[in-house]
Every structure is written in C-alpha cells, then in structure tokens.
C-alpha cells in the first residue's frame, strides 16, 4: 500500500498562530533593517549600472545634450519637501503627538503623488519641444531613468500608504514605529536618488 507523504504538509502540534507569529530567535530582531538594506543594495546596483551605461554612451558621436525641463528640478524640490514632511511625522510620533503624525504622513504621500504627476508634465514639456525617446541618447536616458525611478517611487508610495493606514489606526507609539522609520529610509533614498540622477543628467 503506497501513500505519498510530503514535507511541509504534515501539521505539527504547536500553539495556535505559530509560524508567522512564532517567537524570533535573539538574532531575528534586525530582520527588517537587513531586508531594507538588501533592497537598497540591489536598487543601488541597478542605478550604478545605468550610470556606467550613461557615462560610456555619452562618448558616442551622436550624443546631443538636451536642456532638462525646469519642472524636473521643481520635482526634485517636491520630493525633498516630501521627505522633510515624513521626518516631521516621525518627530511628532517621538514627541508623543501621535494624532498629528497622520497629517504629515498624508501630506508627504500627497507630495509623492505630485512628484509623479510632475514627471509626466516633464515628459510632456520635452515632447512639446520635439524631444522624443529616439531624438538623442541623452533624451533616451532622461525618459528611461525617470520612468525606472518613477517605478521605485510608486513602490515607496505603497509603503507610505501602508504606514498612513497604520498611523490612522493608532498602531504607532512614541517608541514603536519601526515600519514608519523603514518606509522613511526608503523614501529618503528614492528622493536622494532623483537628485543624483538630475545632477548626473545635467553634467552629462
């Protein structure tokens, strides 16, 4: 008589909710920062590769530098202000004013959305000037890098939405708001990344 038995399908007599809620071993406490660092490392490598590609490609005979649309710089300001608002939310939590934190968080997320809308405006401004994707390698890099960066901002907005939901539910306290802290690190990272890309594309 045969019977297929498979690892992972046989239940174990453990307390209800074990597994996802299982006690962490002592080393498990740095889990989220480690995950975040690994994510940032992989995103850094992605944009490092794009940077290398841009620096090599700009030596091509067809490289014609384009004037970056002014709105791209304004967008840089928007995302920096958004980061500052996120810090105000953290400060509010740390000082015990938990009820104010959702307001700052909501504003930070709204500015994030404004940033993405501004990037679309930047594309339209370029197109209005007759600068399209194949117009020059410099233009191609602008469209491509802003799109790939925008995808990462979209991920950050998801994280901000999650933290806003938690803040509105009163889940954060003055000492326990790790999720917000980690979302803030990622948000600052994508903000700084856009400033870096702007400078890179400006000097290219």
């Amino acid at each position: 008589m045969s019977r297929l038995t498979l690892a992972g399908t046989i239940p174990l007599d453990v307390p209800q909710g074990a597994g996802r809620g299982a006690p962490l071993p002592p080393s498990g406490r740095g889990l989220y920062p480690m995950f975040l660092m690994a994510v940032l490392a992989t995103v850094t490598m992605l944009f490092a590769a794009f940077t290398a590609a841009l620096l090599i490609r700009r030596s091509g005979s067809d490289w014609i530098a384009i004037e970056l649309p002014a709105i791209a710089w304004v967008n840089g300001g928007v995302i920096v202000v958004s980061s500052a608002l996120l810090e105000l939310a953290r400060r509010a939590l740390r000082s015990g004013a938990a009820s104010v934190a959702p307001l700052w968080l909501g504003l930070a997320a709204a500015l994030g959305l404004l940033f993405l809308a501004g990037q679309i405006v930047a594309w339209r401004a370029l197109m209005a000037e007759g600068v399209f994707l194949p117009s020059s390698p410099h233009a191609a890099f602008f469209y491509m890098l802003s799109a790939v960066h925008g995808a990462h901002v979209l991920g950050g907005l998801g994280a901000l939405g999650w933290t806003l939901r938690s803040a509105l539910r009163g889940a954060y306290t003055a000492t326990m708001h790790r999720g917000l802290s980690h979302a803030a690190v990622y948000w600052h990272f994508v903000g700084a990344l856009w400033i870096y890309l702007l400078i890179l594309m400006r000097i290219a």
Binding site: S2, R3, L4, T5, L6, A7, G8, T9, I10, P11, L12, D13, V14, P15, Q16, G17, A18, G19, R20, G21, A22, P23, L24, P25, P26, S27, G28, R29, G30, L31, Y32, M34, F35, A38, V39, A41, T42, M45, L46, A48, A49, A53, I56, R57, G60, S61, D62, W63, L133, P134, P137, A140, M144, V148, W162, S166, R169, A171, G179, H182
Partner: protein
Amino acid sequence: MTGHAPLPFWRRYIFSTDHKIIGLQYILTAAFMAIVAVGLSVLIRLQMAWPQTLWPALERILPRAYEGGVLLPEFYISMVTMHGTIMVFFVISLALVSGIGNFIIPLHVGARDMAYPFLNMLSYWTIVPACLIMLASFFVEGGAAAGGWTSYPPLSALPGALPGSGLGQTLWLLGMALFIASFTMGSLNFLTTILNLRTRGMSLMRMPLTTWTMFVSSVLGILAFPPLTAAAIMLLFDRHGGTSFFLPGGLVVGGQVLPFDGGTPLLFQHLFWFLGHPEVYVLVLPALGIAFDVVATFGRRPVFGYRTTVWSLLVVAVLSMIVWGHHMFTSGMNPYVGEYFSIVTVAITLPFAVIGLNLIASLWRAELRLTTAMLFAIGIISAVGTGGLGGLYLGTAASDIYFHDSVFVVGHFHFMIGVVTSFGIFAALYFWFPKMFGRHMSETLGKVHFWLTIGPVFAAFIAMHYLGLGGALRRVYDPTVYEYIRPLQQMNVWITYALIVAVVAQLVFFVNLVYGMLWGRRAEENPWQGATLEWTTPSPAPHLNWAEPPTVFRGPYQYRVNGTAEGYTPQHVPDRMDQSAAEALRGPPAEPTLAGGPE
C-alpha cells in the same frame, strides 16, 4: 497545546507559504523545464553528429523546424539559444539555488520558515509565468529567441535581424525580467533568513557549508543581477522605442542602412557579463556546499578546513565581481585591461583551490559510505577539478584568444555549470529525499543512475575540449563545412552517443524518484546519522519544522567523536553540560513576534 487548523488543499500544495513545499515546487518546475532543455540538446547533438541527414520522423513531430526533413538553420540557432537559457536560468538556478535552498536553509539554521513566507510564495509564482513565456516563445511567428543565451545585440536588438529576433526575443526579455524579479525576491529572503532567523547558538561559524554557499549566492544574486536588468531595459528600449543604446551606425539589414548611430554592443556585453560571471559562482558554489555536507556525513569525519573554506567562499565572491572581462578578451579591449582581467581571473584559482583541496582532504582517512549521494558528491569534486583546469586556459588572454568561441569553451562550461551543478542537485536530492518525502529512494537504481551518468558526461565533455583544441567552433550549424575539422567529425558522433546514454540514464532517476516517493522504504528521523539540525525533525519534515526550534551547541560536523555511542555529536546536543545549564542557555521565552504586529 492546541493543534492549528489544517490548511485547505490549495494553501498546502498550490499557494503554499511553507518553504519546503515551495522548494519542491521549484524542483518540480525545474524538472519540467529540464525535459524541454535536454530534449533540445538531443536535437542539437543529432545535428552535430549527422548534419546532412534527413529526419522524416522528426519532421512529423516538429514540421516547422524540420521542413523537408532537414533541420532549418534558424531553428538550430534558436535551439542553441533556448537550451542555454533554460538550463542556466530555469533548471540549474531553480532547482539548485531556489529549490534546494528553499528546502534546506530554514532546516539548517533552525528556523520555522523563511523570513518572509508570502514573499517566498510570490517569488515562486513569479517564476511560473516566466517559464510559460519562455516556452510560449517557441510557438510565435519566427520562433524562439536566436541571439544566443547571452542575447548580444545587434542580433537581439533588431527585430528583423533573424526570424527569432522578433517576438521570440521580446518574450525572452520578458521571461528573463520575471526570472530576475523572482530570483531577487528569493535572494532577499535567503539573506534575511540566514542572517536574522538563526536559532539560539547557531552562530555564522556553526552553519553547515551548504547554507554558507547559499548565503554567498544570495549576496551575489542581489548585487550582480541588477546590471542585467538595466541591460534588458535598455535592450527593450532599443527594440521598441527607437533608441540606440547598443546599436552602432552603419548597420545594414535587408539591404537597407538602419537609422541608428553611436551605440555600442560592447556596453551590453559588459553589463551582461557583470552578471554572467558571478552567476557561475551563484550556481557552482551551492553544489560545492552540498558536496561538503554529504562528504562529511558519509565520510564520518569533520570537514577539513571549515574556516578556510568559509573565508575562501567570501574571497571567491568578491573576486567574481571583478573578473567579467575575461569573457570579452576578443572584443578588442585594451591589452592592459585584458592583462588585468587575466590576473584577477587566475587569482580566483587560489581560493577555489583551497575549497577543492579542503574537499579532497575531507575524504582523507574517511570511513567512506559509498551511498548514491556520496558518489555524486565525489563526482562533483572530480568535475570541478577537471572543468576548473580548462578555466585556466580560458581565463588567460593569450590562450583564450585561440579558444574563444570554440567547442573547448562549451566543454569547459558544461563541466562547471552542467556537470558540477547537476551532480549537486542529484547529491542533494538523494541526500535529503528522506526529509522531503519520508521515504528512501532505491540505492541500486541510484548507483545505476550515477555510473550511467558520470561515464558518458565525462567522455563527452572531455572530448569537446579536444575538438576545441582542433579548432571546432561553437554554434555552427554544420561542422562538416570546414575541411580542417572534418577528420574529427567522428568524435562528434561519439559525443552524441555518449550524451544519449546520459539522457537515458536520467529516465532511471525519474523512475527511482517516483518509486521512492510512493513505495520507497520508510525513513526514520535521522537515517544517515547526520549531525546537522534537519535531522532532528521527523521525516518528512512537518509544517513549521519543529514544535520548539532546537538550540545549537556546536559546529555542524562533529563526527568521529570519542566517548559517544554513535561516534558523532549532533549540533543540538549539549556537551558536558547538565540539563539545567542547557535550559539556562536557552534563555527566557522570546516575546517579539515575527510579522504579527503592525510595522
């Protein structure tokens, strides 16, 4: 104690978050993809051995590929491309790293599951559409991608360059993008699980070497895959957006000069090989880690040079990131740059030699138990040595310029990322099968499988080195068109015979697999008298692995220990310490939860 409610069928078997089920799902998916990839290799070998032969039977099965009974050249180059792509990314990577890694890492470090079980499930279900897209590309107009597994532009960037450069190439890029996304998610999970979910007492220097190699692979995956993502994005823009990141001026297709200018295909090659070379170690190192675990268990002696092996792995990882240019010696690079790449490539042989010698030394005065897993582990040592020797010639610019794009290269990389890695998968499956299914595979069938595999693959791939020395080129549709290589054509025939034997041997493995799963002898908790943590849980390992994760008191290879009845001491057994001291070491019950509260 209250047992938790059993999960419904679809949560247990289909959308499972249990690392062991996900590991088995990866292995099963890889096995399916292997059937396709090996099938392609048989067709490739038939063409190499008998290039001008009519194949009416194959025409009936594949009418588009064998029009008039003859294999079409464009389908041949598609097969070469897809065989390489599927084997490297969708068989070896999936089975060895994602599959075996998922199954064994939490069991090795004493965790109940991966750090992010949902992400783990998502990672697997991202690879499924990737596989389907790759397979679907065979059926679109123009056929599957044909630009080689490296997808160099301009062949891959111009939809009109080859029949396979059309939709097939776009699907290739889409499939690879999903693969990279999946592999990155998996690597993030491996890394955080290994660094953050180790049980009490499981310091890094007490981890089994399989898990160490999986850790190194994950780090390499996280750092090396993004440049290929960047290259793939730029290639998509070149193909569909009218850009010319990789397309130089003066290209003529169909008699027309294309309107591109200034791009450089070499940029793609750099980005590809920045991933491509570390990928070799992503695949080879876990096989070596498995060999260490199997050799220690069946040699009944501690691994020789555990610490030097760990440090060597880390050095290999660092060096692997700065040697990619040795794949491009013939691309016209500055000779001084070539000299640099030669030196750092040859430098890798130092830590690699340490690892290899430690493996051999671990066999010295061992009480060998020649189980099937042990035979495959010894096979790994032999293959990595044999294949590694060829690497010296290819890593040195002076000799590589002669060998580049020859069959010598094909023989070399089939040893390293074909034989070493597939032997790693087999060793792992035979070794951990009892923990996967609670039963044993047949040792007799296993040994038949081993001997029928190792002989033919060694014969075939050594012969390929010889063919390459003679000047035979790779990716050639008909090797007999070159007069200078015709005297060696009979060798192509024998290589084909050998590989057909090796393919048939895999049927023995599949029979053994099914036999073992359904009718194999029941396995006890620790059938091999292993000292690592996976052997402290029932066979098959239950959901969540342990009611109470074990505490670790020692390194993973405490075999040949005097004064113990069994001759070894498992990692979780206290040494010269009474029970109350062991309890004290466990410390107070931990209070924080893994993912329960809001973040």
